[in-house]
């Protein structure tokens, strides 16, 4: 397993002393520590690594970084399976097992390729023009086929058991990018005393300085300066440097995401990914540039690569992608690659330069090295053999029709100039300007993303700002850093390093290389490799009226692949402009959206999965309930015992047992989740009169009153028993879900509307466990308690305070079951103790616990409403027959005015009624509707089999229902069958209420 394309020496990142074995499509290969999967495969002479999305054309590695459009693979299997990973970002590690994707049966013989033969039939947007008839064919025939062909990697099939972490972090300056500009900025910021975080997406600092190391900085060789600078920064304790960490997004007010991939190298890592949510005063984006490809006929065959990438592989990893390379460039940078290959002892077949008379130091150096330079020339077309580049044909820009020269080569290194990476500048609204001379979009200093103080919050440093040469990069980075710092009132003592670097001359871009013959029209000049978008596609979109850059993008899918157009956008926009006769500035650009590169869903979820996904609230008796067979009903975040199962009895059996227990002996219920709010102050009575529909100021101390609460729309929002503890102090009970909502509601009115009221509110829901004791044997139970309270003397809707079995309690004589009933409020710490005592006493009397479902049935038998069951946010107190609880005396209360509106006073509104099915054993389905000549006239709100009455009962909201007692109506069920039921009074049991008030 030799590595044919590994150079004999060179490769600053790899450790040749160690070998790493890895697999691609099941075949074993060797690489070295420091390799990426891409560099290792290139070293092994692997050219074909993927198939394209639409035409399934053979594709190879194009780049060396996050912009890679082609070289995507599946990694791992089962719980570790992960699709669509860029080979250029995978650090090689032992046992790495990668498989190519989007091919069948294998890369070399992919049957999808048949597409290409008919590819002329599939221009941009072809699917909008066909598959229209017959109507059902789209769902049943065309779409399924398209779905199977589309998509990239395989979907995972197993849950992921890796660990993901979050952290919040704060700093003065967040620097994105650890290249020379980032380092210069970091130095300046750290010496100004700023808190600095520097995030570098790769595993190394230095950026292009590691490759293009011919500059001298502060009189030292670039590499020496680099090592010294890094060491200096690492020594500063106000600087945090994170490698493998990408600044993925810069949101409003400088809330930034760092995506740290610390655990992606095979070993079982404690933390796979960590998502940093960083709030920083300023961002310095030193995010560099991305080289642009050149469009020419079949510029996608494996072996055609970015010139900078070819150079990276040579210098960083000691790999030459090809034996014979043709360099095709529109600027000086291509010459660097030619020279690098030449120095590495590889053949540079020729340098094709779009410029008429290329000049400048780099060009001279190439000439001096004896390299063949062909000015005013490009590649007319490339030709592949066995899925690999075999030859190219040159074209002269002045005589494109003339036959060109054929050159045999296995690698093309192309350079069409550079695009600054300004994503972070754009994420929160920064604008870009087209610089015609530099041939690139640069950040528009007049329109930066602005923070809450309207100051610029993102600053762009170095080549990301369009600086091409090291000296310019360093100077600009130092300047922009001190500008950012001075905004923060900081001054840096750092002086910009002096740099001597090779100068470069201008770029003459080629947006589409003319091709001889028919290729001129039918040619496949690829712009977006991954989505198979060609020059012809973009031109077609423009011709068809999809003129806006967004239309063209969406119509052709240009720039919508997983690389988000990092390579293709500018070339594509240029073609659009050419076709429309518009300048780049007129064409405009699409918006960069976060994240810069894709981030894992796992990292976004962090640790908040499983038990930590959302909190569950527990009462003091939670474990006791669990130990006694409770199954749970979620109420808000609470879990309440729905019923207590005995042995393997079914739900109904236990629920009915619990109901009858309360009717016939005595039951106890954990009511701790009820909201409890203290309202105190001289204006408390006045305040509560506003909050409740009924009068609370007239309530006597020591007495309880059931109260209803409206929202301003006049609809019921909550209910509960209000207790007046003393003249100034009230205790308001709310529904279980409602405590926090109602507490906030009280505070809102007190703080924002009636801030002159002298009222303080405290939410004491969590201070008390609440236990209901209900049933005819209730008094007997209480009588047997060791207590200083004379329960018999407590009147209905009265209260008492004292000690019960050693626990401090408040006892309220209120009933939600219709039985004689007391509710004990006891400090939560005593809750379990009192509960166990009461339970023992209840069992001794043949009673015991009951759950929420029994409670629901018992209250339904009594016709008591439950907010959220009988009401749904559109129901008034009058609708549910509780006009008695709506004060006519009070001038005003929340929702009073709303209840006067025409629709809320309609006589035919839905009103709460009871329903008795003609067949007493037939229980109406939940939510079933009453029907009259095909129209719904209302719906069932609660429906049960009543064990007390030994028949089904239901409550319903029926149009004008209260006037219709005795009428029989049809209830339709989903199963198309209708059930007959009689409308009646919703109070089914003990209408006079004698049992609760003995």
């Amino acid at each position: 397993m030799t590595q044919p394309n590994r150079l004999d020496d060179g490769g600053v990142l790899i450790d040749r002393s160690h070998k790493i074995k890895f697999f691609f499509d099941g075949k074993p290969y060797n690489g070295h520590p420091g390799d990426t999967l891409a560099s290792a495969l290139l070293a092994n002479g692997v050219k074909l690594v993927n198939r394209s999305y639409k035409y399934h054309r053979p594709r190879g590695i194009v780049s060396s970084g996050p912009e890679e459009p082609n070289a995507l693979v599946n990694l791992g299997s089962d719980a570790t399976h992960e699709p669509n990973i860029r080979m250029t970002q995978i650090e090689l590690h032992d046992g790495l097992d990668a498989t190519s994707q989007n091919r069948f049966p294998n890369l070399d013989a992919d049957i999808g390729v048949l597409n290409a033969a008919a590819s002329r039939l599939y221009p941009a947007g072809f699917y909008y023009k066909t598959f229209i008839h017959p109507r059902h064919a789209w769902k049943y025939l065309f779409e399924p086929v398209i779905r199977r062909i589309a998509g990239l990697g395989k979907a995972p099939t197993h849950p992921d058991n890796s660990q993901y972490e979050h952290t919040y972090a704060f700093c003065d300056v967040l620097i994105a990018g650890g290249g020379v500009a980032g380092l210069v900025a970091a130095k300046a910021a750290s010496e100004a005393g700023a808190r600095v975080i520097l995030a570098e997406q790769t595993e190394r600092l230095g950026g292009r300085l590691l490759v293009d190391d011919d500059a001298e900085i502060d009189g030292k060789p670039a590499r020496v300066w680099l090592e010294e600078t890094i060491a200096a920064l690492e020594a500063m304790d106000n600087v945090t440097i994170r490698l493998r960490t990408c600044c993925s997004a810069a949101y409003d007010h400088n809330y930034c995401l760092l995506y740290e991939r610390s655990g992606d190298r095979g070993e079982a890592a404690q933390v796979r990914h960590r998502l940093w949510r960083v709030r920083t005063a300023r961002v310095i984006a030193a995010t560099g540039m991305i080289e642009r490809p050149i469009a020419f006929h079949y510029n996608d065959v494996p072996g055609v690569m970015l010139a900078s990438a070819v150079r990276d592989y040579v210098k960083l990893w000691g790999v030459s992608p090809g034996e014979k390379t043709v360099v095709y460039t529109t600027n000086d940078d291509g010459y660097r690659t030619a020279l690098a290959l030449h120095e590495a002892g590889r053949t540079v077949r020729a340098i094709l330069d779009s410029r008429k008379d290329p000049s400048g130091p780099l060009v001279e150096k190439a000439r001096a090295a004896g390299l063949e330079i062909r000015p005013n020339t490009g590649i007319g077309k490339a030709k592949a053999k066995r899925n690999k580049l075999e030859q190219i044909e040159t074209v002269n820009f002045d005589k494109p029709e003339a036959p060109g020269k054929t050159m045999y080569c296995d690698c093309v290194a192309m350079s069409n100039g550079w695009s600054p990476v300004i994503h972070l500048y754009s994420h929160s609204g920064g604008k870009a300007l087209w610089d015609e001379d530099a041939v690139m979009y640069r950040p528009d200093p007049a329109n930066p993303p602005r923070g809450k103080d309207a100051e610029a919050m993102v600053f762009v440093a170095g080549s990301a700002n369009g600086e091409l040469t090291t000296d310019a990069v360093v100077a600009q980075a130092a300047e922009i850093a001190s500008e950012a710092l001075s905004q923060l009132g900081m001054k840096t003592s750092a002086v910009a390093p002096s740099v001597t670097a090779v100068t470069e001359t201008t770029t003459v871009p080629v947006w589409c290389t003319p091709s001889p013959g028919k290729a001129g029209l039918g040619g496949k000049h690829f712009l977006d490799y991954q989505n198979d978008v060609t020059v012809a596609d973009v031109a077609l979109a423009a011709r068809e009226g999809y003129e806006s850059v967004e239309h063209a993008k969406r119509y052709t899918t240009l720039g919508m692949a997983t690389d988000q157009g990092k390579l293709s956008n500018i070339n594509g926009h240029a073609i659009l402009g050419k076709t429309l006769g518009k300048t780049m500035a007129e064409v405009g650009t699409t918006t960069f959206r976060p994240p810069f590169t894709p981030i894992s869903f796992g990292s976004i979820a962090g640790r908040e999965t499983g038990n930590l996904f959302k909190p569950v609230r527990q009462t003091a008796m939670h474990d006791w309930h669990a130990a006694h067979g409770a199954d749970w009903e979620p109420v808000g975040d609470w879990r309440r015992p729905y019923r207590y199962q005995r042995g393997d009895e079914d739900r109904d059996t236990s629920i009915h047992r619990e109901c009858l227990r309360v009717r016939n002996s005595v039951g106890i219920l954990d009511a701790s989740t009820l909201g409890k709010i203290i309202v105190k102050g001289p204006d408390a009575p006045k305040f509560l009169d506003m909050m409740y529909t009924n009068m609370m100021s007239s309530l006597k101390p020591g007495k309880c009153r059931y109260g209803l609460m409206n929202n301003e729309n006049g609809f019921l929002m909550d209910d509960g028993v209000v207790v007046r503890l003393d003249e100034e102090t009230f205790l308001c009970h709310t529904t279980s879900g409602g405590a926090d909502r109602i507490h906030a509601w009280f505070e809102e009115w007190l703080q924002t509307e009636w801030f002159d009221f002298k009222v303080y509110v405290a939410n004491v829901t969590e201070q008390y466990s609440q236990i209901a004791v209900a049933g005819p044997k209730g008094l007997e139970l209480l009588g047997s308690l060791d207590s200083d309270i004379d329960f018999a003397a407590v009147p209905f809707m009265g209260m008492a305070e004292g000690t019960v079995e050693g626990c401090p309690v408040r006892a309220f004589r209120i009933s939600f079951t219709g039985e004689l009933s007391y509710e004990f409020a006891v400090p939560v710490s005593f809750g379990l103790a009192l509960w166990e005592k009461l339970h023992a006493k209840a069992e001794a009397l043949g009673g015991g616990v009951y759950g929420t479902e029994a409670q629901h049935i018992l209250r339904a038998e009594k016709g008591f409403v439950v907010i959220g069951d009988e009401t749904d946010g559109t129901v008034t107190a009058h609708d549910v027959g509780m006009s008695w609880a709506v004060s006519k005396k009070k001038e005003d209360f929340i929702g009073k005015r709303a209840m006067e509106r025409s629709d809320l006073t309609r006589p035919d509104r839905k009103q709460l009624v009871g329903l008795l099915t003609e067949d007493p054993n037939e229980v109406l389905p939940d939510g079933a509707h009453g029907v009259e000549n095909g129209k719904a006239i209302g719906h069932v709100t609660s429906t049960y089999f009543s064990p007390t009455l030994k028949r089904s009962i239901a409550m319903a909201l029926i149009n004008g229902g209260r006037a219709r007692f005795g009428e029989v109506i049809q209830i339709s069920t989903a199963k198309k069958k209708t059930i007959r039921a009689v409308i009646c009074d919703p109070v089914f049991y003990d209408k006079k209420g004698e049992r609760q008030d003995v």
């Binding site: 007010h253 924002t752 509106r901």
Partner: protein, 106 residues
């Protein structure tokens, strides 16, 4: 994601510590108001593309309601002030005017 200064406890906190409460300085219409005025109180909102006077609550913090003046266009914040007033303080209004003069907001 907004960074919000609570004028009550002085915290400069993440948006997720706060709860938005909609347009500020809406005068409550009660009994006696016309249907139109009442509907307007409940539902009509200025909803400007520009300077918005709004209510917030430091829900996970000191629990206090307060006012914030913010551009719904640029998210620039012109200031915060306590809840127990019926109109914004002058210095904030001045800042808004200045921003308008500079054409930063509508």
């Amino acid at each position: 994601m907004l960074l919000i200064d609570c004028p009550c406890c002085g915290v400069s906190g993440e948006e997720t510590e706060f709860a938005a409460g909609g347009e500020a300085h809406i005068v409550r219409a009660g009994p006696g108001s016309s249907d139109a005025d009442f509907a307007s109180y409940l539902f009509d909102r200025k909803n400007p593309r520009g300077v918005h006077f709004e209510r917030w609550r430091h829900a996970f913090g000191c629990g206090k309601w307060f006012h914030m003046v913010r551009s719904t266009q640029t998210l620039e914040v012109f200031g915060v002030y306590k809840a127990d007033v019926t109109s914004p303080p002058q210095d904030i209004l001045d800042r808004v005017e200045a921003a308008r003069a500079e054409g930063r907001v509508k």
